[in-house]
């Protein structure tokens, strides 16, 4: 091997070593810009998996689910999760138009989630309702969520023959604090569970 060929090997070695030594600094300086900023919102079933969600619901019975919030916004976020409940005729949040339900929140759950982290809230809920035979409809009284009593008076559900159910829909909307406007704004995320109220 000629001296010149040794030189090539030598300089390649020096280059690789220099890059290795510089790598901690380069890793901080050469960060590709993150282009997608978003929040994840999900519900898991009682076994902490995406299965076993309650559907056929009985009055007073407790059901367990997990509500998760994942922050991919690049900064610590202050969320307010609006808890809402509706029957089949009341307005729902809209995925395509990215609008929230005009129903008032029964309760707001505060959540402070750092960037790239998730917060999972174990939720236990039960529903109190009745079925007056003469009216042939479900009359809701209350929703108890993690021990907090929430009034559902004036909410009723009629029989949906197409789906064979008395429909109730518990859903959660993500709202986020916007420092610029000095208040919460709808974050275009919601998740929910559809129930058949058994009698």
């Amino acid at each position: 091997m000629s001296f010149r060929e040794y030189g090539v090997v030598f300089w390649v070695g020096v280059g690789v070593l220099a890059l290795l030594v510089a790598s901690p600094g380069l890793s901080r300086l050469l960060v590709w810009p993150q282009t997608e900023f978003f929040t994840e919102l999900w519900i898991l079933g009682p076994n902490h998996m995406a299965e076993g969600y309650p559907y056929n619901v009985s009055r007073y019975e407790n059901y367990n689910i997990f509500l998760g919030v994942g922050n991919r916004l690049g900064h610590l976020a202050y969320y307010s999760i609006a808890v809402k409940f509706r029957n089949q005729t009341q307005p729902a949040a809209d995925t395509f138009n990215r609008t929230f339900s005009s129903l008032p929140a029964l309760y707001n759950v505060s959540a402070f989630v750092p960037d790239e982290q998730v917060l999972e809230l174990p939720l236990t809920f039960s529903l109190n309702y009745s079925y007056p035979d003469a009216l042939s409809r479900i009359e809701f009284y209350s929703l108890t969520l993690n021990g907090v009593f929430l009034d559902l008076a004036n909410c009723t559900a009629t029989w949906d023959s197409g789906r064979s159910e008395f429909m109730g829909n518990l859903f959660f909307e993500a709202w986020i604090y916007n420092a610029t406007m000095g208040g919460f704004q709808y974050h275009e995320r919601f998740v929910g569970l559809r129930f058949n109220m058994t009698i």
């Binding site: 001296f3 020096v14 220099a18 030594v21 600094g25 309760y107 505060s110």
Partner: protein, 143 residues
């Protein structure tokens, strides 16, 4: 003329409303302080737990207020504020020490490693000059 009960209720409503407003302002002040501490890489786990708790107490205060239970609303709002006592000061201190740590981290990782790389290259040049003087003139193969 208002009755005594109505005056008491109105006072309770005003006091509860003002306590909730104060609690919410306090949460926002602390949130901004914790966000800054978080931004500089400080460990904010405990501060976030306190914020979560205060936020949920504030939610309960709202709920009680909507139900007309002004005493409970005021109490929840007070507890919410109490939970955040000194939290913004702690967050500011964490942000300051986190900022210093971040500067040190920057010096060690970025400046240190780049300087190290330059030293490696200069060392390479020195060694190459030495080798070139010793073997470069021979123009033959090195065994």
């Amino acid at each position: 003329m208002l009755g005594l009960t109505e005056i008491t209720a109105a006072t309770g409503l005003t006091e509860a409303s003002s306590a909730i407003d104060e609690a919410e302002k306090r949460i926002l002040v602390c949130y901004k302080a914790v966000a800054e501490a978080d931004r500089v890489g400080a460990n904010t786990t405990e501060l976030l737990a306190a914020l979560d708790e205060a936020g949920n107490l504030s939610s309960k205060a709202h709920l009680a207020y909507e139900k007309g239970d002004f005493d409970s609303a005021q109490e929840f709002a007070r507890l919410s504020q109490e939970r955040l006592e000194g939290l913004d000061v702690e967050a500011d201190a964490l942000a300051k020490s986190g900022g210093q740590q971040r500067s040190l981290d920057f010096i060690i990782n970025v400046v240190g490693s780049l300087v190290g790389a330059v030293v490696v290259v200069i060392g390479g040049v020195v060694v190459w000059v030495f080798l070139n003087r010793k073997y470069g003139g021979e123009e033959g193969s090195v065994s």
